[in-house]
Amino acid sequence: MLRLSKGAPSPILNFGVSIEIQVNGLARQVEPAATVASLLRELGLDHGHIAVELNQRIVRPSERATKALAPGDEIEIVTLVGGG
């Protein structure tokens, strides 16, 4: 299962304008201008073999760059598993 550590605090945190979201059940701070795509980049998960759900709705790859994050958003990220 995807393991997420708390991200390094962004410098912008110092100004108290970051927003808090939940990623796979863990709280995380992101910039106010963050999108699903920027979050995935930050997590090193912009490789395409993942499914992303935002507030119980799947976010397709084509929508990720424009889908803005808001305080309290709940994100689930699932990585494709190939073993068996």
């Binding site: 299962m1 995807l2 796979n24 059940g25 490789h47 395409g48 073999h49 993942i50 499914a51 759900e53 119980q56 709705r57 799947i58 397709r60 790859p61 084509s62 689930e76 699932v78 990585t79 494709l80 598993v81 190939g82 073993g83 068996g84």
Partner: protein, 343 residues
């Protein structure tokens, strides 16, 4: 039905099955693609549950490192084709199941041969290429299949019900490139994770087979993640994507591709599988005679010819397919194949 009187008494008492559901299980045919960790556990659950026809397909042989998680195999099976060893283990359970074993690499041609009478296809494969092929087949023919994947202590399950919920490509449009994901070779895998994933797959399968006797109408399934170490369970909605290349646009490139590469590296195993250019039966006894002069440790075991030549260990199957251990380079393996098995 005689079986249902006593053997399946506890299942018949289960409210979602009942006698009608049990009869549906006995009338059902299920294809399990891959017969290793997930596939073996799936087959055991289906046979014990009394599914009437269980079709097994696997390209591999039993190895020592399989035993901790591949529940159907024993030390006495080492070197045996997995489908045969699994069939023998399952037949000991008895009951109404008829078990078919196919010692083959499942490509589009083989799938088109094995799948048509199956009501459900279960994923016991260890690679994404075969899963995208199964997805193409099942969406194009409107047959349910149940994806399962496992690595480390965790895994994923998605029942794909064409017309009802997402297909694999709605959620993961393109297969990952070889080597870009964690594999059982790089990240290991533990039996509890295999059992969790295969049990969710098997439960979904029995529910599908039980049909209306199984209770509610099918609802859009969810993609479920489970972890046998952290005990975490999470799931996401698996709604159809109208723009999905497979179930939306009805493009089936994995099924329509003429043939995949004739030589493919088996992930992380230092082994390449080479398939013959044309399909024909190979006379293994004659081949054994031919290579005896140049190879060592030549033997035919459970219908598989094995020998050692140069730094390679070869296993040749009756359909002409060979597993060549000692390289991960498909071109090199192809050359070894042509040299010793014949093109």
């Amino acid at each position: 039905m005689a079986w249902t009187d006593s053997r399946f008494d506890r299942q018949i008492r289960f409210v979602h099955l009942g006698a009608a559901g049990q009869e549906r299980l006995e009338a059902a045919r299920v294809l399990i693609v891959g017969c290793g960790a997930l596939g073996g556990s799936l087959a055991m659950q289906l046979v014990r549950s009394g599914v009437g026809q269980v079709v097994l397909a696997d390209r591999d042989v039993v190895e020592l490192s399989n035993l901790p998680r591949q529940v159907l195999f024993s030390e006495t099976d080492l070197g045996r084709p997995k489908s045969q060893a699994a069939q023998a283990a399952l037949q000991k359970i008895g009951g109404p199941s008829r078990i078919e074993a196919h010692d083959v690499h499942v490509d589009a041609d083989v799938l088109l041969e094995l799948a048509p009478r199956a009501q459900v296809i279960l994923d016991g494969t260890d690679n994404l290429a075969t899963r995208y092929l199964i997805n193409d087949y099942c969406v194009s023919r409107h047959v349910p299949w149940i994806y399962g994947g496992v690595v480390g202590s965790s895994g994923l399950v998605l029942p794909v019900l064409p017309g009802v919920g997402a297909c694999l490509r709605c959620l993961f449009p393109a297969p990952a490139q070889v080597g870009s994901l964690e594999s059982c070779q790089t990240s290991g895998v533990i039996l509890p994770a295999v059992q969790l994933v295969s049990s969710l797959q098997a439960g979904a399968c029995l529910r599908l087979l039980a049909g209306k006797a199984g209770g509610s109408e099918p609802e859009a399934p969810r993609l479920t993640m489970v972890d046998a170490w952290s005990t975490e369970v999470r799931s996401v909605s698996a709604r159809r994507d109208p723009a999905c290349p497979c179930c939306g646009m009805r493009e089936f490139p994995f099924l329509d591709a003429p043939t995949e590469n004739a030589a493919v590296a088996l992930c992380g195993r230092n082994t390449v599988q080479v398939r013959p250019q044309s399909k024909s039966q190979t006379d293994l006894a004659r081949l054994a005679e031919r290579v005896r002069a140049i190879a060592s440790a030549v033997r035919v075991h459970s219908g598989v010819l094995e020998f050692q030549v140069e730094e390679f260990h070869l296993r040749v199957f009756p359909d002409g397919r060979a597993l060549i251990e000692g390289t991960e380079d498909p071109a090199r393996a192809r050359a070894v194949y042509d040299r010793y098995v014949g093109s």
